[in-house]
């Protein structure tokens, strides 16, 4: 990140309250911001600084702090810098604003997060099921969802060492017959 | 009356012979493909196994009466067409139709298949039929010019006359030695009509899920297997009759038939597939040009 870019960005973002910028390297910037100010930041970055690509929205479940962290990854094709804007929202009720009106692709990311974490985005065009069309349980990516327990409750297992396999093994066979052992036989 | 009875017997017997030979032609096709790909290939009776298995399927899925009738027409049309193709010792009703008749009679099975596929209401099938008809429009033009040239050369549309003329004069009067250009064009058209690579646009398994066969299972698919073996037989016997003097006896006849068929098959398995418009362009260019040159030679 050149000096000029950095200065430009600083001038641009000085009006936003509570913004904290951290630079990791030439190409990565982290912006911590309050949830209320995020839409303004995104609008500013898109409209004035050329960050036109919302490459992803990711979500982290901080269950100990009872918070969800939402990360908006913005990319500029001009300066080739990726800015990740981090916000924290309360885990309960887990509702936030949609940024669909600023970035249209956000609809898909928000739908996905809604499905996986149960975060509701107000104003998002479609919050119906996306990938897990058959899923009826709780949002599976939440930390309080115990996948293993759920699997144990839902599915049955078959014996991994059934009688017929033991029979074969007794005969010296089995499923694993390496080429070496075969060569030995011949 | 006796003659009529004999004809009827021949008409019954000829399709049976054609079916058996056709199945071996299918086998040869698969064997050749396997050898070209350095594989062993299927065992001798594989086509029989396939057909018997398909007819022996316990559940058969039909999409309606026309689906059934389509298969009946596809098989029945070829059964009828075989009696128009003279083989050694049997002329059937070849004197009552001729080659133009044969060319159109072999469209009936395709039409039946097209109807049956249409009833299935599967767009893959319909796309397959639309492509099959397109390729028919392409290859029938050189094919029909070749037929014209041969009929004009021999002064007859009667296959029996054509074969007799060639056999009477020996190899020098065979169609292939008197009309070599037409013979090449004919082979090209024959290849395209078989629907093998690079002309298999209407099967296209990876693209339209075998097109017309998409909803065919059990005896429906079995019927199409039978149809395919008839198709191979018809194409090669017609070519042999037009250009290679027909069959003096069964041994030379079978030799010629299998040899004729082997050429397009060997070419086929070395190629991928054309797109529809490229097929039309190719077939309307080279074989048509060759056939027209051939006809020009024949007519001067």
């Amino acid at each position: 990140m050149s000096e000029a870019d950095s200065q430009k960005l600083n001038v641009l973002l000085q009006g936003i309250e509570g913004l904290q910028l951290t630079q990791f390297n030439q190409r990565r910037l982290r912006a911590d911001i309050s949830p209320e100010a995020l839409p303004a930041l995104l609008a500013l970055l898109r409209g004035r600084a050329g960050y036109v690509h919302l490459s992803a929205i990711s979500c982290v479940d901080w269950i100990a702090e009872d918070e969800f962290e939402l990360v908006y990854h913005l990319y500029s094709y001009e300066t080739k810098i990726l800015i990740s804007a981090h916000i924290r929202i309360a885990r309960d009720p887990g509702v936030y604003l949609s940024v669909f009106d600023i970035f249209t692709p956000a609809a898909f990311f928000e739908r996905d997060i809604h499905e996986m974490y149960g975060v509701y985005f107000e104003g998002s065009p479609d919050m119906s099921k996306f990938i897990l069309t058959e899923w009826q349980g709780p949002p599976p990516m939440r930390k309080d969802f115990d996948s293993e327990q759920w699997v144990m409750d839902t599915f049955n297992w078959q014996d991994y060492h059934p009688d017929w396999l033991q029979d074969i093994e007794q005969k010296g066979g089995g499923i694993v017959r390496t080429p070496e052992s075969r060569r030995g036989e011949e | 009356m006796n003659e009529t009875l004999l004809t009827i017997l021949e008409v019954i017997f000829m399709p049976v012979v054609a079916f058996v030979i056709g199945l071996f032609m299918v086998l040869m096709m698969r064997k050749l493909a396997a050898r070209l790909q350095r594989r062993v290939g299927p065992p001798l009776m594989q086509p029989f196994y396939d057909v018997i298995k398909l007819y022996g399927k316990q559940t058969q899925i039909s999409h309606g009466l026309i689906h059934d009738i389509g298969i009946i027409m596809a098989v029945g049309g070829y059964v009828a067409a075989e009696s128009l193709l003279p083989v050694p010792g049997m002329d059937g009703i070849a004197d009552k139709g001729g080659i133009v008749m044969l060319a159109y009679l072999t469209m009936i099975p395709s039409l039946g298949l097209a109807l049956g596929v249409g009833q299935c209401a599967n767009p893959n099938g319909s796309i397959g039929i639309s492509r099959a008809l397109t390729s028919m429009l392409a290859y029938d033009i050189p094919y029909i010019i070749v037929i014209f040239g041969v009929a004009y050369h021999f002064g007859s549309t009667n296959l029996i006359d054509i074969i007799d003329t060639q056999q009477a004069g020996g190899v020098a009067t065979w169609g292939i030695s008197e009309m070599p250009v037409l013979a090449i064009a004919g082979l090209f058209a024959l290849h395209a009509s078989l629907g093998k690579q690079p002309f298999e646009i209407y099967i296209a398994p990876a693209e339209i899920a075998t097109g017309p066969m998409v909803e065919m299972g059990g005896k429906y698919l079995g019927g199409l297997f039978v149809m395919q073996s008839f198709q191979l037989y018809t194409a090669s016997v017609l070519y042999v009759s037009l250009f290679l003097g027909g069959g003096e006896n069964w041994i030379t006849f079978l030799l010629k038939c299998f040899a004729v068929l082997a050429i397009p098959i060997i070419i086929a398995y070395l190629f991928p597939r054309y797109r529809t418009e490229d097929l039309v362009r190719l077939v309307w260019k080279w074989p048509v040009m060759l056939a027209l040159i051939g006809v020009a030679f024949v007519m001067t």
């Binding site: 996948s147 293993e148 | 790909q37 594989r39 022996g56 309606g64």
Partner: protein
């Protein structure tokens, strides 16, 4: 019904017919079935990559009469080659139901046995034979082409002797399979195929074809009568 009970079910194999000629005919058909297997490889996971070597010049399945086919209508064997996510399972079941009987299912890779490396994933089905009658498992992650060929030959043997008719189980114990399917997909689950109608039409109705689960199905099912010709 538990798994163990299901395994104990003996499918009433076709009784030997009294007419010796008919027996010969049955044997012939069974032999042809075993020597001509069209497979539909439903490439669900990584195991599918082991099939091309099995088909091409190294191992050449065609010499056993095994050919790949493209649509379920044409196929005899359904190969499930890897993990089956629940969403995929729906399609697998539809594909299986669209195949013409006799039909066989081969589960390739450990994932079809017990979920394999995805055993604790909420999104993949674990035991394939709770949802479909599986004739043969080829375990391994992934099994080599030799193992696939070996499995195929075993299946051929089973078909030849007439043991491999677990497809009848799907008709005669449809309620069990449907119940497991409904557990995953909810009570609105239905396919465009009509298994009960088929079972009736081919006289494959068993004591457990109908039950509580099929009752639920019949409540939600939209009518699926074929379009009859009307004058």
């Amino acid at each position: 019904m538990t798994q163990n009970e299901l395994e104990k079910i003996e499918i009433s194999t076709q009784p030997k017919r009294t007419n010796p000629l008919a027996n010969v005919f049955d044997d012939l058909v069974r032999f042809c079935r075993s020597r001509s297997m069209f497979m539909l490889h439903y490439c669900t996971g990584c195991g599918a990559i082991e099939l091309p070597p099995a088909m091409t010049s190294r191992f050449d399945m065609e010499r056993l009469g095994i050919q790949p086919m493209v649509t379920p209508r044409q196929a005899d064997i359904l190969l499930i080659t890897g993990y089956v996510s629940i969403k995929t399972l729906k399609r697998v079941i539809l594909t299986y139901e669209q195949m013409g009987s006799p039909k066989y299912v081969i589960g390739i890779c450990s994932c079809t046995v017990n979920g394999g490396m995805y055993w604790q994933s909420y999104a993949t089905a674990k035991k394939l034979d709770e949802y479909l009658p599986v004739d043969l498992y080829i375990a391994g992650c992934m099994p080599r082409p030799e193992a696939v060929m070996e499995g195929m030959q075993q299946l051929m043997q089973k078909i030849k002797t007439g043991e491999a008719d677990s497809w009848k189980k799907y008709y005669s114990h449809y309620d069990y399979y449907l119940g497991n399917q409904q557990q995953l997909f909810g009570n609105n689950w239905q396919t465009p195929t009509d298994i009960i109608g088929e079972a009736e039409s081919y006289q494959l109705m068993g004591p457990q074809t109908l039950g509580e689960h099929t009752k639920i199905l019949q409540q939600v099912q939209k009518p699926l009568e074929p379009l009859e010709m009307k004058l």
